[in-house]
């Protein structure tokens, strides 16, 4: 791969939250501080015009990474660099303005992220006016009409209020607002989780069309692996605050290395490859639950649930190693103890289709 144009790079990002009792309670109970290890040593880069997806179960830290990139959360250690500028380094709101113009966000719940008392036109105009791109007047109105048309809404919709729209239409309004300041990069935190599937498909298609036409880069946060498979160029799999596998989306989905990624992929119910009734149950399952980030397990955080864990996994945090176009942090992969990945036995159509 030639040197790609990197728009965002996240370097050893660590975010910890203090979840301690108040000082007096700690003194009385004789307990110490308690720290939530939300994100630990996360590294990735996103090339311009591509989609990077972070996947993982609830509480794995993916939204905290997104919030840190959007500068809504300060990193405890490590850095986020956007178009060559360190995001945490802004001292004033004014200094952060060009960065904020170029980085916008789409949230999960289109019911909560739009001001119910503002007309849609005002919601979309706000970023344009705030960043001083256009003054109020006919030019601004034309720009709003154009943005509404871009996301598949009508110019008349500018005078309506958010409650007059369905969930899918509201998410279109959120996208129009995100596009208003001509950003280069959009953080999409579970953009379709609150939507029905037929509407989800509309929004995903819209996001892909906008990426093609405007050259946008996306950071996609999703727990839905099928959505990720449809959207992402590269993927990062997170478990308990750490990236366990990262790299080319096709390679990770076809030949996942990390035992967590493998089990996650085998766990997702796929209606296009049904296994109802007879053969179901023969599939490998992830046993147990995600441990608390207050006291992550020693060594590899996945070892209590991992079928391939040994003594070394309980002691040492695995260092990342390169496998093809991906990167994986697992002792079993390093020691070549893992069997080759077997997709579900009755799911052989998958490899056939990929060919």
């Amino acid at each position: 791969m030639s040197t790609p144009d990197i728009i965002l790079s996240v370097d050893h990002l660590t975010v910890r939250f203090d979840a301690s009792q108040p000082l007096v309670s700690r003194l009385l109970a004789g307990t110490g501080r308690r720290t939530v290890h939300a994100v630990e040593e996360v590294d990735f880069e996103i090339a311009r015009g591509t989609t990077f997806a972070l996947v993982g179960e609830s509480g794995c830290g993916k939204s905290t990474v997104a919030r840190t990139i959007a500068s809504l959360q300060r990193p405890t250690a490590g850095s986020v660099s956007f178009m060559g500028v360190d995001v945490a380094g802004f001292r004033t709101r004014h200094a952060a303005m060009p960065y904020r113009r170029n980085l916008q966000m789409i949230f999960q719940d289109p019911y909560a992220s739009l001001n119910p008392r503002w007309q849609v036109g005002r919601i979309i105009a706000e970023p344009i006016v705030t960043h001083g791109l256009l003054a109020r007047g006919p030019a601004l109105d034309r720009r709003i009409d154009e943005l509404l048309a871009t996301v598949g809404l009508a110019p008349d919709d500018a005078r309506k209020f958010p409650h007059q729209f369905s969930g899918g239409q509201r998410q279109r309004i959120s996208i129009a607002r995100a596009l208003a300041s001509n950003p280069a990069f959009i953080v999409c935190d579970e953009p379709t989780s609150a939507l029905d599937v037929s509407v989800q498909a509309q929004i995903l298609n819209l996001m892909r069309r906008l990426q093609r036409e405007l050259g946008l880069s996306y950071l996609l946060i999703s727990h839905n692996l099928a959505v990720v498979a449809h959207m992402a160029d590269s993927i990062g799999v997170m478990y308990l605050g750490r990236l366990v596998e990262r790299g080319d989306a096709a390679q990770i989905l076809d030949t996942p290395q990390h035992p967590y990624t493998r089990l996650l992929l085998n766990t997702v119910p796929d209606p296009h490859a049904p296994r109802a009734g007879l053969s179901a149950g023969a599939r490998p399952r992830l046993s147990g639950e995600v441990p608390s980030p207050l006291s992550p397990p020693s060594g590899c955080a996945f070892h209590p649930r991992c079928p391939f864990a040994n003594a070394r996994c309980t002691r040492e945090i695995p260092a990342p190693i390169a496998v093809g176009r991906t990167w994986v942090a697992c002792h079993a992969v390093e020691e070549a103890r893992l069997p080759p990945f077997a997709p579900n036995p009755d799911d052989l159509t998958r490899s056939g289709d990929a060919a």
């Binding site: 179960e57 449809h230 109802a276």
Partner: protein
């Protein structure tokens, strides 16, 4: 086929301030003993209303306008108060989406299980406690004896939903209405809970009506699928056939719009334009016609009945042509 539950021409209305809205209309289906029937559709399609009506839990302003519900051959839609309560929990149990709303935060897990059993099945207290412990072990809760004394907030989401399953099964019901039982859970926990539900039903011959918006869950679990759209049943048939070759254009569109793990990134997802009509703005004829790619003149005015189409039944004017002997075929 001996139907355990039979729903006939069910119609639920909602009394709004100035007019009457129709939540579900002319819904008919049956569930055989031991069968898992999946019920899918988008939010507002009427899946949950159907489940609520069967449980006799419709609340003002929603009410049963017409139709009948038969359980084990006897009408239950006209049962009131105590009689319905005796049936519910004992013979028909419910599992809802959020385990925290199904569990009493002020009672221990053990108390809740024992109370439910003693209400419906009089037995010595100690025997009920022993049975509660056995049930917790069966739903895969580690250290069941200690867990009897735990409160719901001390358990994780997946563990709570296991407790809710134990509660649903504690009186050995014949039918469970499970409304989005795994929607609040992560995929790995969802798979565990679905496996558990399926295993327990198979072992006991319990029938399930599984309400979900997730076709993946249906594919994993259900024997038959019913697809609802805008308050109506548009298609019902065996899961494998429906997933492979649905008859109704809505069911087909629904399947095509689901992204798949098989990567076909070059193609856009097929999507159904527009959105489902809301009960306050009903559509004449077939409710799907404004979004249907195969709409015909007839669809605008006449409402299609649910007719046999291969192994399934579908409410679509095209379904009449579905028989292979059809002169026009289905190009």
């Amino acid at each position: 086929m001996s139907a355990l539950l039979e729903v006939q021409n069910l119609r639920v209305e909602i009394a709004a301030r100035t007019r009457t809205l129709v939540a579900i209309d002319d819904v008919s289906f049956s569930i055989a003993a031991g069968e898992i029937l999946g019920m899918v559709g988008e939010s507002g399609a009427g899946k949950s209303v159907t489940g609520t009506a069967i449980l006799g839990l419709l609340e003002h302003p929603a009410y049963l306008a017409s139709g009948r519900i038969l359980f084990a051959g006897a009408r239950i839609d006209d049962l009131r108060g105590e009689k319905m309560r005796a049936l519910r929990g004992r013979h028909i149990a419910a599992v809802f989406q959020d385990p925290l709303t199904s569990l009493d935060p002020l009672m221990t897990i053990g108390q809740q299980l024992v109370e439910t059993m003693l209400t419906h099945l009089p037995q010595p207290h100690l025997q009920a406690v022993a049975r509660a412990e056995q049930l917790l072990a069966e739903v895969g809760i580690p250290a069941p004896r200690e867990r009897l004394d735990s409160y719901p907030h001390e358990l994780s989401g997946g563990m709570r939903q296991r407790v809710v399953l134990a509660l649903a099964f504690c009186c050995e019901p014949r039918l469970i209405i499970a409304d989005e039982p795994t929607t609040a859970l992560d995929v790995s926990i969802q798979a565990q809970v679905l496996d558990l539900l399926k295993r327990m039903c198979r072992e006991r011959g319990t029938a399930v009506m599984l309400v979900t918006h997730d076709m993946g869950v249906i594919a994993e679990t259900a024997d038959r699928v019913a697809v609802m759209y805008a308050g109506r049943l548009v298609e019902i048939g065996p899961t494998a056939e429906l997933l492979r070759a649905a008859v109704h254009p809505y069911s087909r569109g629904l399947m095509a719009s689901i992204p798949t793990m098989r990567r076909r990134r070059d193609d856009d997802l097929l999507h159904i334009p527009g959105s489902m009509p809301r009960p306050d703005a009903p559509v004449a004829g077939c409710a799907f016609h404004p979004r249907c790619p195969q709409v015909m003149a007839r669809c605008l005015t006449e409402r299609p009945p649910l007719v046999a189409a291969g192994p399934a039944r579908a409410a679509c004017w095209l379904a009449e042509d579905f028989a292979p002997t059809s002169p026009e075929g289905r190009a």
